[in-house]
């Protein structure tokens, strides 16, 4: 194939995948409405996706907050504006770093695992086995995983932000000697519920939807081979990360300045 043909093929393939993803999400939504609710499977998935991601999310949050506090202190102290460190840290964390970094971390930690698990169920014929027992694999396997990811991401993102604010507090107040009241007051004064907290929450929900649909779709539609499992895992991390960053820009412009 010539390079132009390849380009056209790839573009069409992308559109085909988008269409399939749409159909997949539609089927998932319809399966979600059908009884039973699979609440036990959902709780187990919240444990896998949410609770097991807690250490990495909290640790990364504290580190990111500490670095952000340190860097903005150094930059702002040049203008004698170190009183605004709290505002910089708070706005950056709540608007951007919280939802985006949590989504990237959870994609790497849990999204890849979900894709690999479903892909290996495809490969070993377990999905077909469920179908033979007339259990809809969409309902039994995919639905609890997808909803657990969508449900946990806003919670993990909020915890990330709280740990990051604490991490920033630790560095700025204890290491650099800024007044604790100055840090917290400037943080609380600059953050608005409608502009910033709602933006953060919306982003987390959108990223959760992206992650949940992409990772389950890649796993469910993988080739039934070992290479298929690895392709599904890699594909999930790459596609979901890029999608998160693209949607982040789109959502940020929605809110304006």
């Amino acid at each position: 194939m010539s390079s132009i043909q390849t380009l056209g093929f790839r573009t069409l393939l992308l559109v085909v995948h988008l269409g399939r993803l749409g159909v997949f999400v539609g089927r998932l939504a319809r399966a979600s409405l059908a009884p039973p609710s699979r609440i036990r499977r959902f709780v187990a998935e919240v444990f896998d996706v949410g609770v097991l991601s807690l250490p990495i999310v909290c640790l990364s949050g504290a580190t990111v907050g500490a670095v952000l506090g340190f860097q903005s202190y150094v930059a702002l102290a040049r203008f004698g504006a170190e009183g605004s460190v709290g505002a910089v840290v708070g706005l950056a964390l709540i608007r951007e770093f919280g939802p985006v970094l949590t989504a990237l971390l959870v994609t790497g930690r849990a999204g890849s695992a979900v894709a690999a698990e479903i892909a290996s169920m495809v490969q070993t014929g377990q999905i077909d086995g469920l179908r033979m027992m007339s259990i809809d694999p969409m309902h039994f396997v995919v639905m609890p995983k997808a909803w657990a990811m969508l449900f946990t991401l806003p919670l993990l993102s909020a915890l990330f932000i709280v740990f990051a604010i604490a991490g920033g507090y630790g560095v700025v107040v204890h290491l650099l000697g800024l007044d604790p009241g100055t840090y917290l007051t400037s943080l609380e004064d600059s953050v608005d519920f409608h502009d910033d907290v709602m933006q953060s929450l919306t982003k987390a929900l959108v990223f959760g939807t992206l992650m949940a649909s992409i990772s389950t779709y890649r796993g469910y539609t993988s080739e039934p081979t070992s290479a298929g499992v690895s392709a599904a895992t890699t594909g999930t991390v790459v596609t979901a990360s890029v999608a998160v960053l693209l949607f982040d820009y789109a959502l940020t412009t929605l809110w304006g300045v």
Partner: protein, 155 residues
Amino acid sequence: MQPSPTRDLVVGLFVLSGLAALAYLSIQVGGMAYTGPGGQRLYATFEEVGGLRPRAPIAIAGVKVGQVAAIDLDADLRARVALDVDRGLRLPVDTSARILTSGLLGDQFVALEPGAEEEFLADGSEIEFTESAISLEGLIGKFVNNAGLEEKAEK
């Protein structure tokens, strides 16, 4: 799948702590404490608000008691400022509002000075006594003009 009480408990704790984090961000950091149920909305009309912006703090004797909700132009082309003030705060009806600057070049905020009346401002009422923002440019302009006049007079 076997029910496991320990795992369910851990999941419950995780959900609770996530919700607590969200609540902290919304109420404490996001400033819903002033706008939520029980908060009071007051209005004040100024000739000039200068650099006052929504979310600027409102202070009594330097203590923060609320934040500016919105700034609009009223029918007389003056600035009408909506103030969200702490619940439970009782301000006399002759309270006055001034726009001050924290430090020489700092951010502007609304300072309330409680009066001496026995009656208190109700939710949604108007603060009558207001003092506009002092514009630094205006002051400098006056100063330069005066200096110029004095020089001319000396000649």
